[in-house]
Assembly symmetry: C2
């Protein structure tokens, strides 16, 4: 899936900033791709960029209006339809991560057809994949893995990609989830793929490339999460990472959405190495990335120092401390 | 998916017996459910039951015509359409495992509607699943796992289920693949489920039951197969087996469809125990089931004896020697 840039971010009339998580992710990582935001009356979210309408967006060169909000059930509210039609009339494509498919709404389908515009439902994929082959492809790959879901695997991958480029490496971010697709402009929602093709889709997302080029792959789920470990394993096998980073959130008391205990960071390192060996026997852990946002500054620094000594690896919070130390370790290991 | 029994087996005009593998599987395991076979001119397959037409089938009480053949590409040939329409007119439901969805063919969709009949595409599932919960459910479960794909996991599960019932256990076969669904009359094609719901679908297939009742679950893929390990892991987590059996084909030289080496039986036992622990810490291997059809009698017996001594577990060919010894081990371990 290729989404044309730059974007107009549509925030609708959502009730809080959390509902605009997708739009916020895009503005955090790709501010240059965002020409403005479109908010309806009553909207409580704000990405702190210019409020513009669809005509102004088109004039500023926008190519796609991204519905950057999630509401309960992922349904598209009726009163958003006319704005989406306006965007299509103004010459923009429209993209969403909602459950409702844009093309399933007759007015939208009709307007897209009439104006020759694309509709992107990034939650779905109509892309056909082969089953995974497991053969070694040229290029270098780094995968972010987690002790749990929602511990910062996407932000870590984006921060590493940014830092790797800053340190002179040839690096690309590879998206495997909805927000990631908007941030990279390409990719698939791996959890929406038919089960038979998980590793094949992961191979498609991380294709053969220059031998010296890195692909930084957004991880999904956790090998220790009973709901999603199958997706995690398929992604691990398909992306055949040379390097991986363990992501962790230290205040979590049990696995997200289920009753299971969290694994230790050591258990994750060991299991990822063991399973990753199938498609890349050289797989190597190069660091630990912690979301310390729930900790005080001192507490966070002490915890990162403790982890770094315990595992003899750099331990950072990619947002709070930056990911520099992990990239230095990566360069040392893959010199 | 619930497919009404008994069946009329439709063999079309396929060119060899292998193409009728699905029909053969049904007749092997559920002869009582098959009222006859319907073959077109030129058909080279034969399930050795009465040749009848759709009207005779209806008179014999058939509820569903099962398209029990696979042809290249899984496409439905045009000249089968009229026979399918005839079956619907005769009052039968129709079920297939082909890629082509029955409902996508206007004549068939129309006839089904007009006569109030069901169309089943067992390769697909429109069933909505929850994501897996991973909580312990009442009942006992046995999963067949493999060193590779297509090593006899389905036949092993069916043979074990049959033998368990013969030895007085309360046992049900749980289907996770197309042929299995026809043989059980219920189930889903797990590899056709959206990746996010693999373990949730596996939980649905193996629901809570009487504490003493066994569900014998058809395995899929292999944890060591780079194309399908994600499905295998989701099934392992979702079915939370108390017991498992390792299936093996001794003449295989590499993993099916890829270049990877086969794992050893010991590696499979260890990995399944390790990963299965997440949703059932009591998981236990109770035997080895080998497809020895490529070996001579003496060779087969020597190999099974060797495995049994090597692993201190019963090693059988469920077709050649019967699965009795494995069921005895199961009864001993779960007395």
């Amino acid at each position: 899936m290729e989404v044309a840039k730059p974007y107009l971010l549509f925030l609708g009339d959502v009730h809080d900033q959390l509902a605009a998580k997708t739009a916020q992710g895009i503005i955090d990582w790709r501010p240059d791709w965002c020409v403005g935001q479109l908010r309806l009356k009553g909207c409580k979210a704000d990405c702190k960029i210019d409020d513009i309408n669809t005509t102004e967006a088109a004039a500023r060169g926008a190519k796609t209006m991204v519905v950057g909000v999630a509401n309960a059930g992922g349904v598209l509210p009726e009163h958003w339809i006319s704005v989406i039609v306006e965007a299509l009339e103004a010459g923009l494509d429209v993209a969403t991560g909602l459950h409702t498919r844009l093309g399933s709404i007759p007015e939208i389908a009709e307007a897209a057809k009439q104006h020759g515009r694309q509709l992107h439902d990034v939650r779905y994929t109509d892309q056909k994949f082969d089953t995974g082959k497991g053969s070694k492809r040229p290029g270098l790959r780094l995968l972010t893995v987690g002790t749990d879901c929602s511990v910062g695997k996407k932000y870590t991958a984006l921060a590493l990609d940014q830092e790797m480029r800053a340190q002179g490496l040839n690096s690309t971010f590879c998206a495997t989830g909805q927000t990631g697709v908007f941030i990279s402009g390409r990719g698939i929602s791996l959890d929406a793929v038919i089960a038979d093709f998980i590793s094949g889709a992961a191979e498609w997302v991380t294709p053969a490339t220059d031998p010296d080029a890195w692909q930084v792959v957004e991880g999904q789920g956790s090998l220790f999460h009973p709901s999603f470990a199958g997706v995690t394993l398929g992604l691990l096998h398909g992306s055949q990472p040379d390097a991986f980073v363990v992501c962790h959130e230290p205040t979590r008391t049990h696995m997200r959405g289920v009753e299971h205990q969290l694994p230790t960071i050591q258990q994750v390192m060991d299991r990822v190495s063991l399973e990753g060996h199938l498609t890349n026997p050289e797989i190597l852990c190069v660091g630990i990335c912690v979301n310390t946002s729930a900790l005080e500054e001192d507490e966070a620094n002490n915890y990162l120092r403790f982890l770094s000594e315990e595992y003899s690896l750099p331990a950072v919070d990619p947002i709070r401390t930056g990911a520099g130390a992990v990239v230095e370790e990566l360069k040392k290991q893959f010199a």
